[in-house]
């Protein structure tokens, strides 16, 4: 299966739909261990992003993802803006000039996104952040010839759920220390939605690398 500009747009649109649907839930999670604006920030930012990319005409994946990244940086605010923004900017660099790619190249681009996230947010696995979903998911995609949509979705969800029992080491939640335990990390939750959206897209073709 190939991943092209139309697929990429669809991915972001689907992700935005899920964010809008789950806006209150994301906000609730963030009220428990953050400053209560993750749902609102992501909803605003991704709504603007969808607007931008639907109106835009893109010759390559790089310029599409660049618009996504820049819009997120400008419109999301908080920590999520620069974090998701960086992820898409790194992907855009990796996919510069490419009209369409195979899944392997997409995974490589997302691996670059993950590296960017770790540098920007200075977090690692176990800190109770979005990295706790991103890292295992990218590992899975790198190590499997065929990516099964259901496996991808289940893994993302499982890793999101696993953040519940972690103690936060980064972000506003870190101020809560042990009181952050028992709550799912909001960044992990939105990351699950991101990869669930990707999984839906991949379902439409068998995803052999």
């Amino acid at each position: 299966m190939t991943f092209d500009v139309e697929q990429a747009k669809k991915w972001i649109i689907t992700f935005n739909d899920k964010i809008q649907e789950n806006k209150e839930y994301l906000t609730e999670l963030d009220q428990a261990i953050g400053d209560g604006d993750h749902g609102l920030n992501m909803a605003r930012g991704f709504q603007e992003t969808v607007k931008k990319i639907t109106e835009g005409k893109y010759d390559d994946l790089g310029s599409l993802f660049k618009d996504v990244g820049m819009t997120l940086i400008a419109k999301v605010g908080g920590a999520s803006g620069p974090l998701y923004g960086t992820a898409f900017m790194k992907a855009s660099l990796a996919l510069k000039g490419k009209k369409e790619v195979d899944i392997k190249a997409l995974v490589e681009a997302l691996a670059a996104s993950l590296d960017g996230l770790k540098v920007r947010g200075k977090a690692q696995v176990g800190d109770k952040t979005m990295i706790d979903v991103w890292e295992p998911v990218i590992e899975y995609m790198k190590n499997h010839e065929t990516i099964h949509s259901k496996e991808l979705t289940d893994l993302s969800k499982e890793k999101m759920d696993d953040t519940k029992e972690l103690e936060a080491k980064k972000g506003r939640a870190a101020y809560l220390g042990k009181r952050s335990i028992g709550h799912i990390d909001p960044g992990a939750a939105s990351s699950y939605l991101l990869f669930a959206s990707l999984a839906e897209l991949l379902e439409e073709g068998e995803v052999a690398q």
């Binding site: 609102l40 605003r44 940086i73 400008a74 419109k75 620069p82 920007r120 947010g121 506003r172």
Partner: protein
Amino acid sequence: MKYVSLVLISHSYEIVSGLKKLLNQVQPEVSVAIAGGVEGDIGTNALDIKEAIESVYSEKGVVVLFDLGSALINAEMAIEMLENNENIIIADAPLVEGAYAAVVEAGLGSSIEEVVRAGESAKELVKIND
């Protein structure tokens, strides 16, 4: 420019707009730029910060002060997005007291390192002595 400039970042526009007023009274010759809020809401964003830094940038340097966590991420991002980004230092200082100490130090014509040091030493400030 004779003086190091300051950039103040807060999740609240009103906080930095008020603080800038105070600093301008205290040291009118030091350039102070602000970035606060996102589209009228609480939050910070890298593009506003980038513009603020650009508006007061000089080789004498810019010291950036911020309030909480995600402001730092956005400040780092803003600095990366600038072409000219030597002589910009983010101070690990409390926003209000650090900015006050920094603006006074800057007004003396001090170097960027001295201004950062003044701002950061506000962390040790004991305000009530009984």
